[in-house]
């Protein structure tokens, strides 16, 4: 059993400039055994701090942390059975790759043969065999990254902690390493906690994702759930690329009345919106739910708007088209099969079957 559990964990920093500052506020969650859990959120939201509290590099101000079935509230990092891959890799610059990878086991006074065996196993998994006698500075970014992972693997820990391990790599290498990490997770069958600010990385890697903002956990869910059922406007606006569009409006009967349009709410959704009848709401529409009517087999009877397109961006198979509703800019992701022209009016269908409504005050999803 190597689950990681936070119960009401908070971390405050005493900062000379900012005074008392809460980096993580009242976090409660369970990372299941063998899970690939990704922490995602904008820079400064408390991801690294959370990870460092699991590692024991930072002591929580309050709350309890469990690894496996024991509390590790005051345990030293070495006693937590974790391994960490740092954002800057933190390889020992004066040691060879072999020495870097065996340092942990040497400290544990393991027999020489065992150390050698584990290092060469890890080196094989990560294709580092030919680099073992080099120093870190003789390696490329991607190779250093592998060494950092290798150093974690040889210790065979219960939990792997990764802090933005791909952020220093170029885009192509990042995609490749992403796949390798995914495979590694399956191969090792270990619990992985992974921090990133990149929502694409989070969505592709995570079996579940913790979305954080300003020290608060916003939602913990599978990538699919996060995308389909974001709990609030922050999650909706953070997950997805481009993110969800928000349009202010008013719910009147089965109509969301925006400044320009009256959009019809599907019958089956009305019940859960009942409380908001006659009130201000925020309508959330994903870019892919804005559809050029040319693509539809039957002309829809409702929810068609005809805005002037302000910008068209070509992504190959798709266009990103930008237009205004009132003061808000809306982006649609539209198949490029039919040509779309900038500064022209186009008929666009808003797929209200996939709509989401938010409370403008609390920013929480309605229903």
């Amino acid at each position: 059993m190597s689950e990681v559990r936070f119960v009401n964990v908070s971390k405050e920093f005493e900062d000379d400039n900012k005074g008392k500052f809460t980096a993580v506020n009242d976090a409660t969650f369970t990372i299941e055994d063998k899970e690939f859990m990704v922490f995602v959120g904008p820079s400064g939201c408390g991801k690294t701090t959370s990870l460092r509290m699991i590692a024991g590099l930072e002591r929580q101000t309050s709350g309890d942390i469990y690894i496996g079935d024991r509390t590790v509230n005051k345990a030293h990092p070495k006693d937590r059975d974790i391994a960490m891959v740092f954002q800057d890799y933190a390889l020992y610059p004066h040691m060879t790759i072999r020495e870097n990878m065996s340092f942990g086991l040497k400290n544990l006074k393991r027999p020489k043969e065992e150390i050698e065996k584990k290092v060469s196993e890890a080196a094989q998994i990560l294709s580092l065999e030919n680099l073992l006698d080099r120093k870190p500075r003789e390696l490329s970014g991607g190779q250093r990254q592998r060494v950092a992972v290798g150093r974690a693997i040889v210790r065979n820990p219960k939990v792997f902690l990764f802090d933005e391990p791909l952020s220093n790599l170029d885009a192509k290498l990042r995609v490749q390493m992403r796949m390798e990490l995914s495979e590694l997770h399956k191969r090792l069958g270990a619990t992985i906690v992974y921090v990133t600010h990149d929502q694409v990385e989070a969505m592709t890697l995570g079996t579940r994702i913790v979305v954080m903002n300003q020290g608060e956990i916003q939602q913990i869910d599978t990538p699919e759930e996060l995308y389909k059922n974001p709990k609030n406007m922050f999650v909706a606006g953070f997950i997805g690329s481009p993110p969800m569009n928000f349009v202010r409006g008013r719910l009147d009967g089965n109509i969301v009345q925006t400044v320009e349009h009256a959009l019809v709410v599907p019958e089956d959704k009305l019940l859960k919106y009942a409380e908001y009848q006659g009130k201000e709401v925020v309508l959330g529409i994903r870019p892919e739910d804005v559809i050029n009517i040319e693509h539809l087999p039957d002309a829809p009877a409702q929810n068609v708007i005809e805005p002037v397109i302000k910008i068209v961006e070509h992504l190959g198979s798709e266009f990103l088209v930008y237009f205004g509703i009132g003061e808000e800019t809306i982006v649609g992701k539209i198949s490029s099969d039919y040509h779309m022209e900038v500064f022209k009016k186009h008929q666009l269908y808003i797929n209200m079957e996939k709509m989401t409504l938010f409370d403008p005050q609390t920013q929480m999803r309605i229903g």
Binding site: A83, H94, G104, R137
Partner: protein, 310 residues
């Protein structure tokens, strides 16, 4: 335009009047600016060095020096006093430099974890003896080593029920006394260098080591010490150079005595030059000493040189 101007000048390397004028128009000011330091350097460094080198092959006399070839060097090699001075200098160097580096490192290790204010206090406190003149320090140490019960060390010995020691007057303890002075002496500059170097080691290395189950000692041995190697090398080379030239203490405290026990090479040079006016001999000694220092420094750089880069 600029490139063609330069390349045309490159092609015409011939020494013509126009070229010379152009050269001074282009670079004249640069030479004017370095002229003063160059003159000072030649006057006070190069000239004495050359003259000393010439003296070392002469029997010096105010009325007219006499060429004697390598006689000065030969008599040095045959002189038991010179070898005694060499041995004293070597003992002094071996006993002071490495030990002092360890003491400095230890102090820096103790100061480094403290908060900013305490760090500043200790840095200042340890630096203070360094800005006090060596003569003043030596005078204080004369009192500490006072052979009567009035001396601090003997007072302590007395308190512990031990016999008084004639620290500086006894040939067996005199050199050791001078060595002891350095242990309790100025570590300030070294501490500052070590603290700066420690601050330059990424914190994440220690965190990685924490996760790698490294003990305090393992971190010191496997991370801090290797990464401080450039600083240690610098302190070692500088320490050896300074210690090979040690003079002040021997001059103020013991006048090289008793019975040559604290006569260092530098002190011997002083004696020969300014007490017996054998400038030729003193010059020869200086060049031997300088040569040894250069050799040792080169060896140190060869064996300790490191290639650390984060």
């Amino acid at each position: 335009m600029l490139a063609s101007h330069h390349s045309s000048k490159m092609n015409k390397k011939r020494f013509t009047w126009e070229n010379t004028v152009q050269f001074f128009k282009d670079y004249g000011w640069c030479y004017a600016f370095i002229l003063v330091p160059v003159i000072l350097f030649v006057l006070f460094t190069v000239y004495p060095l050359v003259m000393a080198f010439i003296y070392s092959f002469q029997k010096y006399s105010v009325l007219g020096s006499e060429w004697i070839g390598l006689d000065n060097y030969r008599s040095l090699m045959d002189s038991p006093v010179f070898w005694k001075a060499m041995k004293n200098t070597l003992i002094y160097t071996v006993a002071t430099v490495p030990v002092n580096i360890l003491i400095t490192l230890f102090l820096a290790l103790m100061i480094f974890p403290l908060n900013n204010k305490s760090q500043t206090f200790f840095k200042a406190a340890f630096y203070l003896p360094g800005v006090t003149s060596g003569i003043t320090m030596s005078l204080i140490w004369l009192w500490i080593f006072d052979p009567t019960g009035a001396g601090l060390l003997n007072a302590v010995f007395d308190f512990l029920g031990l016999d008084s020691v004639m620290w500086l007057a006894n040939p067996d303890t005199a050199l050791f006394s001078l060595i002891l002075m350095t242990y309790l002496g100025a570590h300030g500059a070294g501490i500052l260098l070590y603290l700066a170097a420690m601050g330059g080691i990424p914190k994440s290395l220690y965190e990685a080591a924490d996760i790698d189950s490294a003990s305090w000692w393992s971190k010191l041995k496997n991370i801090t010490w290797p990464l401080l190697k450039p600083t240690t090398l610098y302190l070692l080379v500088m320490g050896v150079i300074a210690s090979f030239q040690v003079f002040e203490q021997a001059y103020v405290m013991t006048m090289g005595g008793p019975n040559l026990a604290t006569t260092t090479v530098a002190y011997l040079i002083y004696e020969h030059a300014f007490l017996s006016f054998e400038f030729g001999l003193a010059a020869a000694e200086s060049f031997v000493l300088g040569f040894i220092i250069i050799i040792i420094s080169v060896i140190q750089f060869k064996f300790m040189s490191s290639d650390i880069e984060y």
